[in-house]
Each structure stands twice: as structure tokens, then as C-alpha cells.
């Protein structure tokens, strides 16, 4: 209760201030719509928001899962081979510094703009890096004591990876996933900015904005926020389930 109350109060306060600012300041709805107007639009457009959120959510999810799987495989490979690791880390850091979202138009051409593949690909690439870098660090950070211990047990490389490396790297994986989860939603939404299928939240927001229907645009924005939050919270939940030894400490 004490954890939930301050943010809720803060949120309500912000909404009220916003509403007062808009109504008292006679701010035209096409500049900044009032929360009440957005609320009305959310109710009116709930089916559309839901459909669009499903489309964007599916893209984000596919990208997230695909990117994560690839990142896990790549990290496993890089952690086993010294050469791969040395080449891949600075390279990943460099690629990570690129504005990957701007790749969307190129991917649209390389694949086809009529499918969801390019958008999912952008999401996947955006997800790949935080997961890869974090997981790789986790996989390599095996404590020397553990390493020696497994040697005294005459454990094979595979047993070592399964019993020590992977579980030890789980918290790192989730650190990466937490970053990646909301990034995935943003990437999926913003990638729609550059063309492609027109069924997601990003296209809906821009389309509503093109008609100056800002309350409607913000209704879809709220949908995007909720989608991002859902992804984040689900990741947190998964983390709790997958790393019980971390959670018990808090209580």
C-alpha cells in the first residue's frame, strides 16, 4: 500500500493540474487536449485502440522474443570463444550507438513494406543489444571459486554451462530484458512512422494527429503507454519467478 500510494496520488494530482490548466487557461483542444476529452476518446475508440495495440504488441512481442533468442545464442557463442567475444563486444557497442530506428525504410525495401517483417526486425535489432551485452557479461562473470569448485567435481564444459554459467547469468539476462521490453514497444511504434502496414498504434497516432484529432491521438498514446507498461511489468513478473533467490532477500 505504501509503495502504491505515492505514485497514484502523484498521478492523480498531475491529471487534475493538467485538466485545470487546459480548462482555466482556455487551451484549445488541438494544442493540448484535456484529460477528460482524452478519456472520452478512449471510451469511444476502445475497440480501435485494442486492435491497434494488438498489432503493435504482436510486433513488439515477436521482435522481443526473436531478438532475445538471437542475443542468447550469440552471447553463448561469444562467451565460449575468446575471439568471438573480443570482436563482438566493441562491434556491438558501435552498432548500438546507431539510430537503429532509422533503418526502417531500408528494411522496408529489403523485405517488403506490405508485411510486418521489417517492423519486427527493427524491434528485434533494438532488443538484441541490451540483452546480448548484459547476458554476455553475466556469462563471463563466473566467480573463480565456482570455476575451481566445478573443476574439483570434474564437471564437463556442458555441465558447467548448464549448472553454473546459465543460472548465474539469469539476473543479467533480466536486467537486459527490462531495458529491452519497453524499448521493444517504442521501437515497434516508432518504426510505423516510416511506412509499412497501417494497423498499429504508431500509424493511428500520426493519422489522428494529421487530422488535428489530438484527443484521439492521445487516446492511442495512452494505449501505447499501457502496452509499454504491460511489457515492463510482465518482464518484472517473469524475473521474480525465474530468480526466486533474489526476491526472498527483499522480504
Amino acid at each position: 500500500m505504501r509503495r502504491v500510494l505515492p505514485p497514484v496520488l502523484f498521478g492523480l494530482l498531475a491529471l487534475v493540474l493538467w485538466e485545470v490548466f487546459v480548462t482555466a487557461g482556455r487551451v484549445a483542444p488541438f494544442i493540448l487536449p484535456a484529460p477528460s476529452a482524452i478519456g472520452a476518446q478512449i471510451v469511444e475508440q476502445k475497440q480501435n485502440i485494442w486492435d491497434a495495440a494488438l498489432a503493435s504488441g504482436a510486433n513488439a512481442l515477436v521482435g522481443l522474443i526473436g531478438g532475445t533468442l538471437l542475443a542468447v545464442l550469440a552471447a553463448l557463442a561469444a562467451s565460449r570463444s575468446r575471439f568471438l567475444g573480443e570482436v563482438s563486444i566493441p562491434f556491438a557497442a558501435v552498432v548500438n550507438a546507431l539510430p537503429i530506428i532509422a533503418l526502417a525504410p531500408i528494411l522496408n525495401n529489403m523485405f517488403e513494406s506490405t508485411s510486418s517483417v521489417p517492423r519486427r526486425l527493427v524491434t528485434g535489432i533494438v532488443v538484441f543489444f541490451p540483452v546480448f551485452l548484459n547476458l554476455l557479461r553475466g556469462l563471463r562473470e563466473v566467480s573463480p571459486v565456482h570455476q575451481e569448485l566445478m573443476r574439483t567435481y570434474a564437471a564437463s564444459g556442458w555441465t558447467f554451462a548448464r549448472k553454473v554459467r546459465l543460472p548465474g547469468a539469469l539476473p543479467h539476462l533480466f536486467t537486459g530484458l527490462r531495458q529491452a521490453s519497453s524499448l521493444a514497444v517504442i521501437a515497434a511504434v516508432v518504426a510505423e512512422y516510416f511506412g509499412g502496414l497501417q494497423d498499429g498504434l504508431g500509424a493511428r497516432i500520426t493519422s489522428a494527429a494529421a487530422f488535428t484529432a489530438y484527443p484521439r491521438a492521445w487516446a492511442f498514446v495512452a494505449g501505447a503507454c499501457l502496452l509499454g507498461l504491460t511489457f515492463y511489468l510482465v518482464t518484472l513478473l517473469l524475473e521474480r519467478l525465474a530468480t526466486p533467490w533474489k526476491q526472498r532477500l527483499i522480504s
Binding site: R26, N48, S113, F194, G196
Partner: protein
Amino acid sequence: GTADTPSTPAPGASGALTPIKLQLQWFYQAQFAGYIAAVDQGFYKEQGLDVELLEGGVDIVPQTVLATGKADYAIAWVPKALASREQGAGITDVGQIFARSGTYQVAWKDSGITKAADLKGKKVGNWGFGNEFELFAGMTKAGLDPSKDVTLVQQQFDMQALLKKEIDAAQAMSYNEYAQLLEAKNPATGQLYTADDFAIIDWKTEGSSMLQDAVWANTEKLNDPNYQAQTVKFLTATIKGWAYCRDNPEKCRDLVVAKGSKLGKSHQLWQMNEVNKLVWPAAGAGIGVIDEAAWKQTVEISQTTKNQTGDTVLKAAPEGPAYTNDYINQAIAQAKAAGVDVTGSAFQPATVTLTEGGA
């Protein structure tokens, strides 16, 4: 607050120029050549106006910029501007510079698509964002249900989807994307594609076209006699600019290129020529007069045609002074008096040869 009304100083009263901001719809290109020319040739200055052109962008909505007082006039398509009006933007169409719509639906010649009805069962590209309603109205008129009878696909900024035959028909502006098709090399022949390779559905002939580029003014400010006078002066100079570009397309092309447009020279000349076709010859009294029938058609399509999400452009008929010919008529009279040909009845489009990449 939004709609403060700063009192507009009488133009040219003290000999100093009145600063004016004009919000364009998009990046500099020949679509806005008339305004660029009027600035460059000093037509606005003659009227005592110091006009600054504001470039557009993906998220810049010209009519909103106008309504919030950050520009004095704006160029916007009629349906989109009407939608903003419905949301409370106080704006009025004071000059319908483009009398005709330039939107095509382009298909491969060998696809057999020549009219809206042929789109049935096809993959149809469109840009969305409010640019799709002519297409939808055309299809509806031809008895197709846009949400069922065709597969709608969002195009991106280029025409590759059509060239790669991912889609069967693509939306294209006559003055821009269509030219891009003709600037591309056919890998089979090593030559550029020609007009013979493509078939065009022109919404003007299908009867579902809507009004496009118009000059919009701030409704509230129009009550101010000073602003009224300034509007007439602005329109007069604008008319001169467009007349200049009609008579000197190459010169205007150079002006646009000099503004830093990244599109090539031959492309800009093509665009200049095509845009001239949308303006000239002007029917009736002359350039910019709003044609009642075309307006009604635009409003009706805006109210009735639904896109995939079931939204229409407008919920109700526009209220209040959505458009007025008062100022454009005065401007035409003044321009005529200054010896400008305001109808361009003798206008003959040129034939422009495009080069690869529009260079």
C-alpha cells in the same frame, strides 16, 4: 491561451514592411513555387509585406500553426483543414490556389487496372494520414467496400513497393511520386520506365477528387480591417507569383533548387509543370476563386467516406465562414489592374523529359 488577436498594423502605413509568416505544408519544392517566386521577385514587398516562408515537416500541421497564431497564413489541403476547424481551429479558406487535385492511383499497364472498379481484390497502396479519402471515395463510388474488397497497404515515401510489384496500385501525386517512377531504371531494359509502362486512375475523372492546396487565414483576425487589407495584399502578390511561375517555369525551378530542395533539377521542372496544370487555366474569375461545386463535393466526401477504422474526416458540415471569395476577388481585381493575366487561359503545359534520378 490560443487565439489572442494581436492588432495587425496597417500594412505599409509607415513605409516599413509588415512581417508575415506563411506556413507551408512540406519541404521546399515546386509545389510552393508561386510563394517562393513572390518572395524572390519582390511581389510581396511591392505590397508592403515582408513574407517569411516556414517549411513543413512530418508532424507540422500548417492549419494548427496558423490557428495558434504562430503564422499569419498557411497552405493546407481543404479536407484536413476542415477537420482541424471542426476541432476548434478558427481558420478560413481565402484562396483556392490549386483548382484541381493531383492525386493518382498508378498501376502497371499490364495489370489491366484502369478504373476504380478494377481495384477489386487487389493490393492497393495508400499513404494514410488523411491522404486516402479520394481513393476510398473513388472505390466506394465504383461499388467497392474499401475495408473488404481490397487489401490496403501503407506505402512509404518512395515507390519501390509498386516497382517490386508488392502492391498492384500505388498512390502518387502527379507532380512527385509519379515522376519518381519515370526516373527509375527498368532493370530489364536498362532504360528508364516510360509513361507507357503505367496506367493511371485520375480521381478527377472518377469524380471523387477533393480540393487540395489553399491559402488559409485566421478567422478571428479577419474581423480586423487591417488584416483584411493585408490578406488582399498577400493574395494579390501570391497571384503574381503563380502567374510568374506559369510564364517562367525554368526560372521558378531554379528558385526552388536554390532554396535547397534535395530533389533534382529535372524532377523540379516536372513538378513545376504538373503544378501549373493544377492551377492553370483558372476557371471563372481567375486563380484562387473557390468553386462551389468542387467545395460541396469535398465536404460531402469528407462527411460520408469512411476509412478502415470507420472514421470520417468530418462529423458534421462545416459551420461558420469556412471559406470566402471576398478577398481573392479583390486581389484578382488588383492583379488584373496591374496587368497580370489571372486566368491563364492560354496556358499550355510543356513536355518535360525526366532524367535518371531526376538529376
